[in-house]
Structure formats: structure tokens, C-alpha cells
């Protein structure tokens, strides 16, 4: 599914905005790199997430935004219910009991 505009029309609409945003990212990274103690930031997991995201930008396809969202997301553990139950902190509901 896509919008009603052609590729050229969309490109004309987004080019300047995207250019500005890319420059903003570049300037932010430059600003960071100029600071003392930059090495400590480079090992910060959030900095690594930024780097991974920038690599995704250079890829292709139509799913880059969702992929980047996942990079910045905590992992989901399908066994979370049993983990909570194991601690006794997830009591069974009794729908007929008054609250």
C-alpha cells in the first residue's frame, strides 16, 4: 500500500526536509565527538543503538522506520507470564469477587 503521489513528487517534497535532518544528525555527532571523554559515550549502549540505526538507513526496503524502532526497544520475552507467576505476584483473577 502507498500514497497517491509519484516517486518524483514524494522526492521533491521530502528532499530538503531530509537533507536538513541528516545534517542535524551529523552536527549532533560532531558536537559529541568534540567533547572530552567521548570514549566513554562510545561504549554507551544508546550510542551503539544510534550507530546501528544509521546503518539501517543505508539499507533498502520499506521497513526502515519499524526496524529502527525495534533497535531502540527492550526485548519481549514470551514467557513473561510464567516468570511473573513464579514469583507469586500474579494472582488468579476471580471475576465474581468484589473489588
Amino acid at each position: 500500500m502507498s500514497g497517491p503521489m509519484t516517486s518524483i513528487q514524494v522526492f521533491e517534497q521530502v528532499f530538503l526536509q531530509t537533507r536538513a535532518k541528516v545534517l542535524e544528525v551529523a552536527a549532533s555527532l560532531d558536537r559529541l565527538a568534540r567533547t572530552e571523554g567521548f570514549e566513554a559515550v562510545q561504549s554507551d549502549s544508546r550510542y551503539q543503538q544510534l550507530r546501528q540505526s544509521l546503518e539501517v538507513l543505508l539499507g533498502s526496503g520499506t521497513n526502515r522506520a519499524a526496524t529502527i524502532q525495534q533497535i531502540f526497544s527492550d526485548p519481549y520475552d514470551p514467557a513473561w507470564v510464567s516468570r511473573f507467576q513464579a514469583t507469586g505476584e500474579r494472582p488468579e483473577l476471580n471475576p465474581t469477587a468484589p473489588h
Binding site: 500500500m1 520499506t62 522506520a65 527492550d74 519481549y76 507470564v81 471475576p95 473489588h99
Partner: protein, 276 residues
């Protein structure tokens, strides 16, 4: 174009905002119960809040010709206090028959903790026992994907809950599929920095279609824009989408979802004008 803002916290906004929204075409809003920026100390604090939501806010909205609807709950942040949450849950039925109350919300998770999940399930149970609609808050930033999936897990485990009577809010690119694929309604929040922009919301519409989806401003006491929905309308127009498609998302879809509540007594603006 007439529109409905299905999620905005007007108790945090000034009367001038109602007026601006009306001038931009807003004809109705729904206001979920939420965190006040501080934890309330007792159930009486919530009782007063629910009175504000059901008594004064509809009146204040009416001064600008906007119809006001609301949702009641204890929010995910304050749900860490399970004993207080249970007192609030026990008190909510006092207000459920009031005009304009659409259901239980915005309930959900914030940091995806055990206490939040306990209180979430008990509020889902409350909604099921009273046959109420549910409005879901999903967490922000890195917690959102995990929290949304946990919420969907909990909703699907309760056979009394019908997905078409649940609205999952604050969806973004990585969570909209979980909501839509399971048959839930969903909403995108147009909110600076931490949620969706109008252009990303339009992208999501182009990717996922315009069924069972709406947009809101979630305007509140933080940096937010109470007239964000018109920004989305403008973005959709700029891309060449039809007026009918835009109207479906910002007006007809909220109506279709809200009409499932027996207390949704909406006067279409065309009828209201004729009466005047």
C-alpha cells in the same frame, strides 16, 4: 473539516485551547483519565478528579461548542500502588452511569512491571464485568514494543474481551501491526519527540490502511499540541489523499468506535447547527 480528538487531557489545558480547537473544526473530544504529574495520595483524590472529568469539563468544552466524553481508571504510573489502585477500581462504578463516560481508560503499562500488570488485569476485569469499552495506554520509547505485546497477551487471555471493543493507543511503526492484526482498534498520538509526527502517522496510514485507526493529540500538561490533528489533516491533503479518506480517519472512525458505548450521545454538527 470537522474532526474528533479521541485522546486529549483537557484538564491540563486552558479554555483558550478549547476555543482554538473549535475554530480548527473540532466538534468532540474524549478525555481519558491519566497521571496528574504527581501521585495522588488517596482514593478521594481520584473521586474529585472523576467529578472534574464528568461534571466540569463537559461544561467547559460546551462553552466552545465541543462535545466532551471521558474514560475512567487508575493510570499505569500510579498502578505501582496496588492497594490504592484497588480502592480506585472499587470506586469507579459510582461514575460509570454518568453521561459521556465511554468506558475504562487509559489503562495499560508504563514500565512493564508486575504491579502494573496486576492492576491492568483487574481493570480489564472491571471493564468485562460492566461490559465497558477499553482504552489502552502503551508505554513510551524502549518499553513500548515489549509493553504492547504484554498488553495484547493479557487482553487475549480473557475470553470476555472483544478486540473490536478495545482501542490500543500510541501505536507506532513497530506496534501498529500487533494491534491491527488481532482485530483491535488503534490510535496514533501526534506528540513532539516521543511519539508520532503527522508525517509518520500519514506514512503508517499509507502502509496499514485507514480501517480501525485514528489519530489524536494526547495534549496534556507536558510539551504537546492540542491542535495536532489538524496538522495531520494538512499533511494528508499535501500528499493528495481524498477528503473522504481523511474524514474517515479523523471523524468517522472515532464515531464508529465510540458508538459501541451506550452512553455515547453525539449530536452531529450539522444537526446542532440546524437547532441553533
Amino acid at each position: 473539516m470537522y474532526y474528533i480528538d479521541p485522546h486529549i487531557h483537557m484538564v491540563s489545558r486552558v479554555t483558550d485551547d478549547y476555543e482554538k480547537m473549535a475554530r480548527m473544526g473540532c466538534v468532540a473530544i474524549s478525555e481519558p483519565a491519566f497521571w496528574a504529574g504527581f501521585d495522588r495520595g488517596s482514593v478521594e483524590g481520584f473521586r474529585d478528579y472523576f467529578r472534574q472529568l464528568t461534571e466540569f469539563e463537559p461544561k467547559r468544552a460546551g462553552w466552545s461548542g465541543i462535545q466532551h466524553f471521558t474514560w475512567l481508571c487508575i493510570n499505569a504510573k500510579e498502578a505501582e500502588n496496588v492497594s490504592l489502585s484497588r480502592e480506585v477500581i472499587a470506586m469507579i462504578p459510582e461514575f460509570l452511569d454518568r453521561p459521556g463516560v465511554l468506558g475504562i481508560g487509559e489503562i495499560g503499562l508504563n514500565k512493564n512491571t508486575k504491579n502494573e500488570s496486576i492492576v491492568f488485569r483487574e481493570q480489564v476485569d472491571l471493564a468485562a464485568r460492566y461490559n465497558e469499552l477499553i482504552l489502552i495506554h502503551t508505554p513510551h520509547l524502549q518499553d513500548k514494543l515489549k509493553g504492547t505485546r504484554m498488553i495484547v497477551d493479557m487482553l487475549l487471555e480473557d475470553s470476555r474481551i472483544k478486540p473490536e471493543r478495545v482501542l490500543i493507543d500510541h501505536v507506532e511503526e513497530h506496534t501498529v501491526g500487533f494491534a491491527k492484526d488481532k482485530g483491535f482498534w488503534c490510535a496514533m498520538t501526534l506528540y513532539p519527540v516521543t511519539k508520532c509526527t503527522p508525517s509518520r502517522a500519514a506514512d503508517i496510514i499509507e502502509e496499514w490502511g485507514d480501517d480501525r485507526i485514528m489519530v489524536n493529540s494526547a495534549g496534556d500538561w507536558g510539551p504537546s499540541n492540542p491542535i495536532a490533528v489538524p496538522d495531520f489533516i494538512q499533511e494528508m491533503r499535501r500528499r493528495g489523499h481524498s477528503e473522504a479518506k481523511i474524514r474517515k480517519i479523523v471523524y468517522e472512525n472515532p464515531l464508529e468506535f465510540f458508538r459501541q458505548s451506550k452512553r455515547f450521545q453525539f449530536t452531529p454538527p450539522e444537526s446542532a447547527r440546524r437547532v441553533q
